[in-house]
């Protein structure tokens, strides 16, 4: 069971929020996850239900329609959602990431005009950084935004965009100046703007309910007042957003691993071999003990990085450590869960093989785990 020790929650309202989340996760997510992943259909209406409940703007200020929750509470919500259906938790995480550039770097006027709708639960966002030629080195991006009077015209191709084709707004990082990181800006683009063409969906290994595709931009007009932050500030906005986003991925990994442990444990208590429940064999019991320990460590690491963020302290390296550790952990734990179920773990009758496929993507998105090590090592070298 996902631990919800009330002593670890900062406020009584956080407790109420998690209770609401649990009700939604149990009644709306859990019963639909298997079928939804099998059919590969994005559960748009379900995300709206979460939005109406207030889960699509949790870590943002109440004055703009957000939930005013500290990151550590928002992450517990994500963890709980991920333990029932990762694709849905991922959707909440990506949407929350996509609201960050406006919330943190928009002008007051931009925030007042645009943020309430984005946090209101009916709209869904996407975050367009990666390009076909490279994800790990986004400073090499080639998508351009050329000034044309009071607009930019955006042209280029983004790749691997979660919510491509279903999002209502896109954060597009593109080049407004010269080469390198300093030539990049961040634009907030309505999905309905002419010239935006989402491509065919990628056929992914897991998270099949979550649409991922390239998006081609062909002379897309974007008003200059949709630029978030100054020209050339885009790269640093993207990296800040990813610091926060990585904590979301870490929380998703913890939730996924917890689901796998809970499932494997229940199975191991019931499955008999040699006249005994297999959980009583040390070989199985120790596997589960290691999983429980690793999950607890990953959760603690993630929440401690979140608390730094909540206090306004630097947390870039801590977020990278949490993302690295939690997602590697989830890969290990979901793989071991398959092992605990033996042959039954290898077939789609049980969800553990799906969870193993889903865990893999967490080691890749929002900076591969190699890139997380790079961030941590850089911090060590220059810190």
């Amino acid at each position: 069971m996902v631990t919800e020790d009330p002593r670890l929650l900062p406020t009584p309202e956080a407790h109420d929020l998690l209770e609401l989340t649990r009700e939604l996760a149990d009644k709306e997510l859990a019963p639909r996850a298997d079928e939804g992943e099998h059919r590969g259909e994005f559960p748009r209406e379900l995300i709206r239900t979460l939005g109406r409940a207030g889960l699509l703007g949790l870590p943002y200020p109440a004055v703009h329609g957000g939930g005013d929750q500290p990151y550590q509470v928002y992450l517990r919500v994500l963890e709980l959602l991920a333990s029932r259906w990762l694709a849905v938790a991922e959707a909440v995480s990506v949407h929350t990431l996509a609201c960050y550039p406006l919330a943190a770097h928009g002008t007051d006027a931009q925030r007042e005009r645009l943020l309430p709708a984005m946090l209101g639960g009916e709209l869904l966002g996407a975050y367009c950084l990666t390009e076909p030629a490279g994800g790990s080195d986004p400073a090499a991006m080639t998508t351009r935004a050329d000034r044309d009077g009071e607009s930019y015209l955006v042209s280029g191709t983004k790749a691997w965009i979660t919510h491509a084709g279903v999002a209502d707004f896109y954060n597009v990082f593109c080049r407004t100046g010269g080469g390198g990181a300093n030539g990049i800006s961040c634009l907030l683009v309505d999905a309905g703007t002419p010239g935006i063409a989402p491509q065919a969906r990628e056929r992914t290994m897991g998270l099949r309910a979550s649409p991922v595709a390239q998006i081609a931009f062909d002379g897309v007009p974007v008003p200059v007042d949709r630029r978030l932050g100054a020209e050339g500030q885009g790269f640093s906005i993207a990296m800040q957003a990813l610091d926060a986003g990585r904590l979301g991925i870490a929380a998703c990994a913890v939730g996924l691993a917890q689901a796998a442990l809970d499932y494997a444990l229940r199975y191991a208590r019931e499955r008999q071999q040699f006249g005994r429940p297999i959980v009583e064999f040390q070989g199985v019991g120790f596997l589960l003990a290691d999983a429980a320990t690793q999950i607890a460590a990953a959760r603690a690491l993630t929440l401690s990085a979140a608390r730094l963020r909540d206090l306004g302290l630097p947390y870039t390296a801590e977020a990278a450590k949490a993302k690295l550790f939690a997602t590697d952990m989830a890969m290990q734990v979901t793989t071991d869960a398959v092992q605990v179920l033996g042959g039954y773990g290898y077939v789609a009758d049980h969800p553990v093989e799906r969870w193993m496929r889903e865990a893999k993507v967490l080691q890749i998105v929002e900076g591969t785990n190699q890139i997380q090590r790079l961030v941590i090592a850089r911090g060590l070298a220059h810190g």
């Binding site: 309202e13 609401l20 939604l24 109406r52 409940a53 207030g54 949790l58 939930g67």
Partner: protein, 260 residues
């Protein structure tokens, strides 16, 4: 329009429920207590009417101290306020007495519309809405699967029956009870939960309602449960092992039970 929704707290019907040996009443302390499922639909219907026609929505509950939890939960969906009838003397009330108490509380609220569930999952009397309407001398439109309010305030209800449905109408004030076919209840929102903490809940005693404690509770029950017995444990089913004739044996079984 002023709407009052009757909301009963019941033990979780999904969990195991027991009766107390001493007085044959439901063990409410040990159970996980929830809003009676059908009452969620009544609340939703009240909120939809409020969204369309304005007015206010009040929750009315008669129940022990822990019913306050369900009242907050109900308020987190959106109603404006609640009335909780709470009195130790109410323990063990029969359906007739319950209806007297609810009717007395409703008189203090003078609603245009009283909405309730069509049935509770514990008592299952299915008569509370009728009894309350009778006591108030107003119409009872029961078992609704659809409710509309006309321009002149006339209520029209599609009343669900085994064969189909009947259309019945009445002028307000009236009692309408609903089945789970009428709508899809909303979840509370996080903001709704926060707001519910500040919504007014007035607690009324029997004295506040001018009811003699001797007329309610175990003392005033018009009927008494004299004994109860647990349902016998299900006996093990009959196992048919297929040795080539499994299909025939299954059909024989079904025929012997008159299924085919």
């Amino acid at each position: 329009m002023k709407t009052v929704v009757l909301v009963k707290q019941v033990p979780d019907s999904g969990a195991e429920r027991r009766l107390r040996d001493a007085d044959h009443t439901i063990e409410r302390e040990s159970a996980d207590n929830l809003i009676n499922e059908m009452d969620d639909y009544a609340i939703e219907e009240a909120l939809r009417l409020q969204e369309a026609h304005g007015g206010e929505v009040t929750i009315l509950t008669m129940g022990p101290t822990q019913a306050a939890e369900s009242i907050r939960k109900a308020l987190s969906m959106g109603p404006d306020q609640a009335v909780h009838v709470l009195d130790d003397a109410l323990a063990g009330s029969c359906a007739v007495a319950t209806s007297a108490v609810l009717a007395a509380a409703l008189r203090t609220l003078s609603p245009d519309l009283v909405l309730s569930g069509a049935e509770s999952t514990d008592g299952r009397v299915q008569a509370m809405p009728h009894m309350v309407a009778e006591r108030l001398g107003i119409a009872a439109l029961t078992g609704a699967r659809k409710l509309t309010v006309g321009g002149d305030g006339t209520l029209t209800v599609e009343r669900q029956t085994d064969e189909g449905y009947e259309v019945v109408t009445a002028a307000t004030p009236a009692v309408v009870s609903v089945w789970d076919t009428i709508n899809e209840p909303r979840y509370p929102s996080f903001k709704g939960i926060m707001a519910a903490k500040k919504k007014p809940v007035s607690v009324l005693s029997l004295a506040d309602l001018g009811i003699d404690p001797g007329e309610v509770g175990t003392a005033g029950a018009t009927s008494a449960v004299v004994s109860h017995q647990e349902r016998p444990a299900r006996s093990a089913g009959q196992k048919i092992i297929d040795q080539g004739d499994g299909g025939v044996k299954l059909v024989e079984f079904l025929a012997s039970e008159k299924f085919v």
